[in-house]
Subunit: 384 residues, 2 copies
Amino acid sequence: MNAINKTHSLVVGLNVPAEVGMSIDEVSTPALIVDLDAFENNVKIMRDFIRKTGVRHRAHAKTHKSADIALYQIEHGDACGICCQKVAEAEALVDGGIKDVLVSNQVVDPKKIDRLAQLAKKARVLVCVDDISNVDDLSAAASKHKVTIECLVEIDCGAGRCGVQWGDPVVAIARKIAASNGLTFSGIQAYQGAAQHIHDFEERKGKIDIAVKQVSETIDMLKAEGLECDIIGGAGTGTYYFEGESGIYNEMQCGSYIFMDADYQRVKDQSGGLISEFENSLFILTSVMSKAKPDKAICDAGLKAQSVDSGLPVIYGRDDIEYIKCADEHGVITDPNNTLKLNDRLKLVPGHCDPTCNVYDWFVGVRGDKVECLWPITARGMAF
Amino acid sequence: MNAINKTHSLVVGLNVPAEVGMSIDEVSTPALIVDLDAFENNVKIMRDFIRKTGVRHRAHAKTHKSADIALYQIEHGDACGICCQKVAEAEALVDGGIKDVLVSNQVVDPKKIDRLAQLAKKARVLVCVDDISNVDDLSAAASKHKVTIECLVEIDCGAGRCGVQWGDPVVAIARKIAASNGLTFSGIQAYQGAAQHIHDFEERKGKIDIAVKQVSETIDMLKAEGLECDIIGGAGTGTYYFEGESGIYNEMQCGSYIFMDADYQRVKDQSGGLISEFENSLFILTSVMSKAKPDKAICDAGLKAQSVDSGLPVIYGRDDIEYIKCADEHGVITDPNNTLKLNDRLKLVPGHCDPTCNVYDWFVGVRGDKVECLWPITARGMAF
């Protein structure tokens, strides 16, 4: 299950959309396809960036939830390990062969803390903390299972979700972690999630400048207490070059760069152009299933084939037609020149790749027009 | 797998959030829970309506994708069969024991047509048609597999998706179906999908009045050609009382009524009140996982735990707090009075039930505070 060219022996049916060796035209739609050339190139671009800057990259597996892809990122992309967001996701990916996992999120439920500690018997396990009472619970579970859980204190550097304020609150939690049995204080989590999709370059940069300053001052305060940060982590596909070149962050956590999506492709570079170093490699393959009107076509990829929270999908390589409406099971496509016919296939760039991957069981890896591999979406639906 | 009180013997782990007999407070979150009292009452209300009006009800399984629930609707709700939207969904539900399935959608891909014909060996199979060339393909597959496929001609009565115009185009396709080997012309599909969620009563009624008129005139034209409609089907949770009492429609296709969702609860009755005959029975059980700020809490149900296409979820039974933002893995909840604490549990009414069910593997059935059953979401992800 762990090599990109591994041939899976599967029967196409109920929930298996393709088999290795078939033409892309034979894949049952809707299906999630990965253009392997583009995917591999995206991994290479990020690898070259981390080689150049010397920062580590802990690839975010919440995007793809696939053990195969995570292992590829480690093997071919020099990733030092992975991030994920849920304990069940970490369990599935460790089962799939990953040895170094940061749950870049809080784990506060007693049963989940216990599962996290058990997982630390099989892999290096790190977790984020933003509440001082959580430290006791993590320590008790780590002691019970005779393991070490590494902890990062999470700073809310602008996303407005989890995390404490920079400075003193971080130091207080870090001090407690360092003094607790079974735990190691390993550093800081400072991911500016709200900056990633800001389309304007200067505005986006401004958000990360603030984060870098907060992180930098906090590190100095920690140092003054004798608390060293092995990991100063954060950064996503929309901002990684800021954190990566900051001289402060030393571990990036990019996810979407391997696939890209329609919204990330609206994010602009310094000169107002697209941040075009990454190519689209993820597509929803869809078919026209109704053509009862000359100026409209209905395709078979609706709300159950994607997430439209960040906007509708974009039809790849076609400026003459547009996906304008998404219903439960249908997409409505304009067809002003009446060019589409039944069973025509289109490639959609999803509006938002992460939650779109979460509704599929398989990535269908294609090279050119041929299916080269099937990757199970190992942690699909593992939200708890 | 087919009885509502069946005890599943499962180990809670990776993707199993609960076990029968546990308290709701022990369920791993986020989880999709069904309040069985409310669910059963919703089924009973619809059963009473069809008994009173004499129309049939072909319950729409696209909402729940569960064989257990479909069988309950047939056994306890007098449903005459089910609808679903995809061939893979139909295959999974027939495997789960359903004997009468309408794919209330077009099936035009040659491989899917072949699978549909094979399914007709195991169950009564009906499908919608809106293209005359599709009739030949369906007929060839039915003849090849020596089965009968029943066909409904779909009218676009205002939804703007699949379906031909009422009148002559329907008659032309119906005539061809009736003359084709292996096929039976069984009637008309006329679902006004765009009317279901119109909040204003009179506006909603106006849309169905138009549909009823189109259907009625088409039936007369078919009759003049000797083509009788066994099924005149359509209607959803937002409009069923119009179609059900129209004297024209004879088979309803409601889905959401068993669960309801936040958007359906914005749909008003004649006097401007809520269409309150159905109760909320479906909830996302979520936990507070971060409480680093006094006026805000972060819960563990984000975009991978629901679909927000029809709006954010509503927190059940709490007017003092509000779910205001949904990220991939997090929900942001206002907490102006700082009442929430870590691990507090909340019940969310999903914004849109159908695509929300599609991201879970299990319904956790609860009665009062106790888990009574686990129902697999049989056709989860089966979009092709």
